[in-house]
Amino acid sequence: MRKVPNNRAWWLVLPVFILVAFSALIPLMTVVNYSVQDIFGPNAAYFVGTDWFREVLRNESLQASLGRQVVFSTAVLLIEIPLGIGIALLMPTGGKRASLCLILLAIPLLIPWNVVGTIWQIFGRGDIGLFGRFLNEIGINYNYTADPVDAWFTVLLMDVWHWTPLVALLCYSGLRAIPQAFYQAAEIDRASRWAVFRYIQLPRLKSVLVIAVLLRFMDSFMIYTEPFVLTGGGPGSSTTFLSQTLTTMAVGQFDIGRAAAFSLVYFLIVLLVSWLFFTAITYPDRDK
């Protein structure tokens, strides 16, 4: 769309600007302020420069938490993106059945995150949960509260259950936007199903896949409530991800300076990786 230069348009974005400045800029400045000070009391704060940042970057438990977070987000993307594309390809192309499919797929997305945790907490239990009981009955020793591997498996499975529908719905809308003529041309050329997918469907899915990868990366990197309810970060700290570490530090231990420095590093990582994803996926379009 061609856009008209008009600086009075600022009046239209002013409400958003004020609102977001209030709810993002002021808190962010507070965080920056804390991150360079050591605060003992209301009138006893000392400027410490980059000390907190240095400490945070060297802190081993934070590094371990970051490592787990990276593994988790990578696994989430590697499982959910292909699975979501596959499901979108299976979905009916129109009519009442398609509407029904869409609504049913959307259900997990509309459940409050703590309830998602509760659902899996119940479902995976060895005594009262269908899933945990089933695994134990067929001879698999499964206990997500005691075994770190089982806990990881359950948290991952929960996330796949929770968010794959989002990827599927995004891809579904991308697929619906492909004109029928493309498929007819492929049929005339006797293209194989794989060729249709590789050269017609996949390229057309790119714009929605950018959104899917970005949303899934950001949200999995910020995950807090679901694993907190399901495993509480345990056993030990095997499923403690960055948000939980940060929340414990800021609210639990009230370790403000360190938590603030950590917050900024955390935010920067999310921004940087999102930018990298965005640039990497859209790079080939640059020259066009």
Partner: protein
Amino acid sequence: MTHSKRRGFGITFYILLLLLPIYWLLNMSFKTNQEILSSLTLWPQNFTFHNYAVIFTDPSWYDGYINSMIYVSINVVITLLVSLPAAYAFSRYKFVGDKHLFFWLLSNRMAPPAVFLLPFFQLYSSIGLFDTHIAVALAHCLFNVPLAVWILEGFISGVPREYDEMAYIDGYSFPRFFIKIFIPMIRSGIGVSAFFAFMFSWVELLLARTLTSVDAQPIGAIMTRTVGASGIDWGVLAAAGVLTIIPGLLVVWFVRNHVATGFALGRV
């Protein structure tokens, strides 16, 4: 034919797997605690509404749903009111700093809520909004407004400029054109944005729980009460969980025809 049958089978199988954990929650919500703990039954043997009765008769329970509904509604209204003009401006005009502003807005969607926990708590406490619905609604604007601006910008860019120019020639003032002509034209976009604002505000708990204590406490925070000295009240917990799913189902029903485009954020 066999191919499409196999597809139908595949998607049905997936949806059944998807619904199984939810069925288990529903199943448990109609059982007595004694039945839940004594044996694994695939459907309730002693069907009971007791767990739901506990929630519907106790104000400290159902107030949680009312609180959540109130702050979610306020959030949706604020989000739409500020996002609509902004999305229009981003879609139609070039102005100083427009790209920077747009990316700055989006970057807030990437901010982990945990980062803002402490500053939000202090900010809202200092201006006397702690434990009010409006505080949670404003806090949720952090991620809902950028998303709404993004979605609406996509939908608005799908409406040709010529409509705006024609309305000008016909003598419409900008506010009148915007309300009378433009908003009806992008109503599916507005519906979808409202749906997303509802969804992300309804499912969020970390900020909502931190900014409230009694008067505006969300249902998610109240649900932790089921963990008592005598163990967990599984039946009531399950019933409370089932009741949190229903508002989402109602809302998705209204936007079902636009939900696919909506999930692509109006950008397909």
